[in-house]
């Protein structure tokens, strides 16, 4: 087996009051894999994505090891670490408006990172930006390149950010709930674009989401989190096969997601006894 793109071992992240938002997390993601990170709010899924990118909020303390492409990030000086992360890891953020600089045109924002990281000439970077914008199904590429963020719709901005994430030829992309802020009908298109570019480039993706339907469609493997700890790592097919595979909590999350293809399924919250069992299991 080839070396993992991302390997996390014994990662804990503590708040100033010593509460652990991530607790002894182990995770290994193979090249070309789309891994879903799923959990309810407060499970630590976004925090894990932030830890990989080295953008944890100030005041949080991190212990354990994060290795990207065989390089232990926590062993590096901060400046080298930032450069290495920027070169190999990209982010597709949740809110496409706040992630863009409001006073710079799209062309400048897309090419900056390519010029800085790879030292490409501005012209080459611009050509790649235009090419990628076409691949994310933007029709009027020339106009979008000249536009400012506020001139674009939410769906368009998210496409720009997806193109920008792939532009630097990263090995790993952290997608942090990239469709949550978008209209339901735009979601499928955005997921298609991410999946298409991912397959074409073989990029590894860490896909943070709370939607089990999205997990089912986009990932090959799932890591389920609860209370900052890993509940399980499991193949997506196996978890959704309904043959009793997977943890009781993961299966309860699937059942809690309303199934629109059936008319006879009542709403099913995660049963309190499943939570109680899980918490007991975690403190052992």
């Amino acid at each position: 087996m080839s070396a993992p793109v991302l390997e996390i071992s014994n990662l804990s992240v503590r708040l100033p009051n010593d509460l652990k938002v991530l607790n002894t997390v182990d995770l290994r993601v193979e090249p070309g894999e789309v891994r879903a990170l799923v959990g309810e709010s407060g499970a630590g899924k976004s925090m894990l994505g932030k830890a990989v990118l080295g953008i944890l909020p100030a005041g949080l303390r991190q212990t354990g090891r994060i290795t990207v492409l065989g390089q232990a990030l926590d062993q590096l000086p901060a400046s080298v670490r930032r450069r290495e992360v920027a070169r190999h890891v990209s982010l597709i953020p949740q809110d496409p408006l706040t992630a863009l600089n409001p006073v710079r045109p799209i062309a400048a924002q897309m090419t900056d990172a390519m010029v800085r990281i790879h030292g490409w000439p501005r012209r080459k970077a611009l050509a790649r930006a235009a090419d990628l914008l076409e691949q994310v199904h933007i029709r009027d590429v020339a106009r979008v390149l000249k536009s400012y963020p506020h001139e674009l719709s939410g769906g368009m901005r998210q496409r720009v950010l997806i193109a920008a994430a792939f532009a630097t030829e990263p090995k790993l992309i952290v997608a942090d709930e990239p469709t949550t802020a978008l209209d339901a009908t735009v979601q499928r298109e955005i997921l298609r674009i991410i999946r298409g570019l991912q397959q074409e480039t073989g990029t590894t993706v860490l896909f943070v989401t709370h939607d089990m339907g999205v997990v089912a469609q986009i990932s090959q493997r799932v890591t389920v989190l609860f209370g900052g700890r890993v509940v399980e790592h499991i193949d997506t097919e196996a978890l959704f096969a309904g043959a009793g595979q997977g943890h009781a909590y993961s299966r309860a999350l699937i059942r809690a997601t309303p199934d629109w293809t059936r008319s006879d399924a009542p709403f099913a919250p995660v049963p309190p006894e499943v939570i109680a069992d899980l918490m007991q299991e975690q403190t052992r």
């Binding site: 979601q187 499928r188 959704f240 709403f267 919250p269």
Partner: protein
């Protein structure tokens, strides 16, 4: 089936400040173009559409938070039918107790320094009802929160618990109609299921008429009896939920249904 609310040729517009010229009146942008619908008594009607389709504006017009430009909103909850559309706030006041609403984050508009029981008691006092702590606690019991929550503050509650307080606040007034606008959009699937089960049970027990606005069709399918699909301010399809899911007739409806991820892995869905 008798309708609690019948809407006829409802047109609503907002001032469009973006299109404003230096002189002259502010142009108006029409959001709803002559919408006609009925909300049958004791049933839950889902209202769906993409953002900008006018679903929230329709909801706000139903409870007269906005004043329509034209059309009628016939309220059949009193002794004789009343058209709500032309009424002013003073005329609406006696009807407001029957027209309650719950929004996505009920706490964002509430006083963060008031205790939960005070938040529930406030509207009770406004309508001259029993606004005691005991009355507020009774409402909390009905949403399965219990008196232990009475002295907490909104920020100490989870999203699902806050939404249950929002429901308690609305049902404490014993209304006939509830508008629920995206009330589970911000919640985890598990608390979403809890809140929706609660709403379903209360609606049945109290014979409530509910307009449930959502962008999530999988929720609509299991909660609602009827469905209205809006597109650019017009109704493109309406009818019983089961019938629409089995055979959607409008392109917009098919597009909305196709956007919901299939519940099991399917190689075709993203290709």
């Amino acid at each position: 089936m008798t309708a609690l609310i019948s809407v006829r040729d409802l047109t609503v517009s907002y001032p469009d400040h973006g299109a404003r010229r230096l002189f002259g009146p502010v142009p108006r942008k029409t959001i709803l173009h002559g919408v006609t619908l009925e909300l049958p008594k004791g049933r839950i009607t889902g209202i769906v559409g993409e953002s900008g389709s006018g679903k929230s504006t329709l909801g706000r017009a139903l409870v007269r938070l906005v004043r329509p430009d034209a059309g009628q909103i016939i309220w059949a909850g009193g002794d004789r039918p009343v058209d709500l559309a032309p009424l002013d706030e003073a005329q609406l006041k006696p009807l407001r107790q029957d027209l309650q609403m719950i929004f996505q984050d009920p706490m964002s508009s509430l006083n963060p320094r008031q205790k939960i029981w005070q938040l529930i008691a406030w509207p009770l006092r406004r309508y001259g009802l029993d606004a005691s702590r005991a009355a507020a606690c009774a409402a909390l019991e009905r949403v399965h929160l219990g008196a232990a929550f009475a002295d907490r503050f909104a920020h100490q509650l989870s999203g699902g618990q806050r939404q249950r307080v929002g429901i308690a606040r609305a049902i404490a007034l014993n209304p006939q109609f509830i508008l629920a606008d995206e009330i589970v959009s911000g919640l985890d699937v598990s608390s979403q299921a809890t809140v929706l089960t609660l709403l379903q049970d209360l609606a049945r027990d109290m014979n409530l008429t509910v307009a449930f606005i959502s962008h999530d069709l999988s929720v609509i399918r299991h909660l609602c009896d009827d469905l209205i699909v809006l597109n650019h301010g017009r109704i493109v399809e309406s009818g019983p939920v089961a019938q629409i899911f089995d055979a959607p007739s409008a392109a917009e409806t098919r597009k909305l249904i196709a956007a919901v991820p299939l519940p099991k892995p399917d190689a075709e869905w993203l290709t």
